[in-house]
Symmetry: C2
Subunit: 233 residues, 2 copies
């Protein structure tokens, strides 16, 4: 398996997909073409989403072909040299991937060694379920089951505090609810600007900020780049 699971496409105030591109480029190695899944995009067209990603990837000589253009998206996945799933709304993404049978197809490819890149919703769908997304359930997928390439759950865009004066649940409170209801599962709170890289049987955190680990019965704690993450595998 080769996975690059990115918290967020873009850091506040930076150009779109700017910060993760050197890592994406390095991760892909000699592969210069990715099959792109744009189904998390809602308020803009799939073609616009493809074009936006293509514009950035083109700076590195990488071609982007979106599955929405094909009558047989599953075949595009099967024949892909690399797979890239973009962020947006996780529920809409999952629903469409389930309808088109892409979750299973992608899992098969990942197991066969095809590189997978996801950011935000695209990282969430690589987990066993979408149960740790931050997104609004704007449409109802067949189920919350996702690709399941890893055994743990990612919470992308992890953040520590609410805006001042806001009384809604913090992200930590939400994840504590998740582990209460799902006591066997690890959740990793992946802060913005960070990503997880899995290759050659090894999982590593990339980024200057620590990642927060949650599991039922264990006090939440932080790990940083370089720390051993084998407990998640």
């Amino acid at each position: 398996m080769k996975l690059l699971l990115i918290s967020n496409s873009t850091n506040a105030g930076e150009p779109y997909l700017k910060y993760p591109m050197p890592r994406i480029d390095e991760f892909l190695g000699s592969v210069r073409e990715v099959v792109f899944v744009p189904y998390a995009g809602i308020t803009f067209s799939y073609a616009e989403y493809e074009a936006k990603v293509q514009a950035r990837f083109a700076e590195y000589g990488i071609k982007v072909r979106s599955v929405h253009r094909s009558k047989d998206p599953r075949r595009m996945i099967r024949e892909a040299q690399a797979i890239c799933v973009g962020g947006g709304n996780t529920f809409a993404l999952t629903k469409k991937m389930q309808e088109q049978g892409l979750l299973k197809a992608i899992l098969g490819k990942i197991k066969a060694g095809t590189p997978y890149i996801g950011w935000s919703a695209g990282s969430n769908v690589c987990c066993p379920t979408i149960c740790t997304t931050n997104d609004m359930p704007i449409v109802e997928p067949e189920s919350f089951k996702a690709i399941g390439a890893v055994k743990f759950q990612i919470n992308p865009h992890y953040l520590d505090a609410n805006p001042e004066g806001h009384a809604g649940e913090t992200r930590e409170q939400r994840i504590l609810e998740y582990i209460t209801a799902n006591p066997r599962r690890y959740v990793v709170g992946l802060r913005e600007g960070c990503m997880l890289h899995y290759e050659n049987g090894k999982l590593e955190l990339i980024g200057s900020r620590p990642m927060r680990i949650f599991k039922k019965g264990i006090a939440p704690y932080e790990v940083k780049a370089g720390d051993d993450l084998s407990f998640l595998l």
Copy 2:
């Protein structure tokens, strides 16, 4: 129908359920006993949730009886003088209410004139679906369908901005995704400290902050207490 749909139990820095209690008391009139649905509570027991709500309601001489104590929760609902659904996790709440057949039972009671009070998740489940919740989908309900006593969707704890430096979607962006996917539905962004009161065929906003209105094809706009809300009915 008599509904009191409250954004949040508690404002930041205030005691639990402090701000809405005078309105809850007034809304209930001569009714001094409510049947309570505690199923949105996750990280504490249903008994603890009942006790916490009872402690506050007792200050107004109102008795709280939670459905979790009964072998026949539906019957408790059918015989209720008033129904109160507390906040917490909307997915867990909906799942358990669906399993116990409470959604339909409550809709029947609401239509028969029984007062309904909800806050946060308890306001969300009064809508057609739970599709505008802010909560994490920690468990999977049978479906996203909810009580449907009103025709519009509430987004409780509505807030305007992200914490500084955070790049995740704002609440407005999330709701714009919802109305793109669900173009016929109004969404109201109900800010903390505010509530909606429906009685005698009239809907009114209570609270010092405006409410934000979203519908596909209309630029989002604000309404304030006293404004005509009949377009939502």
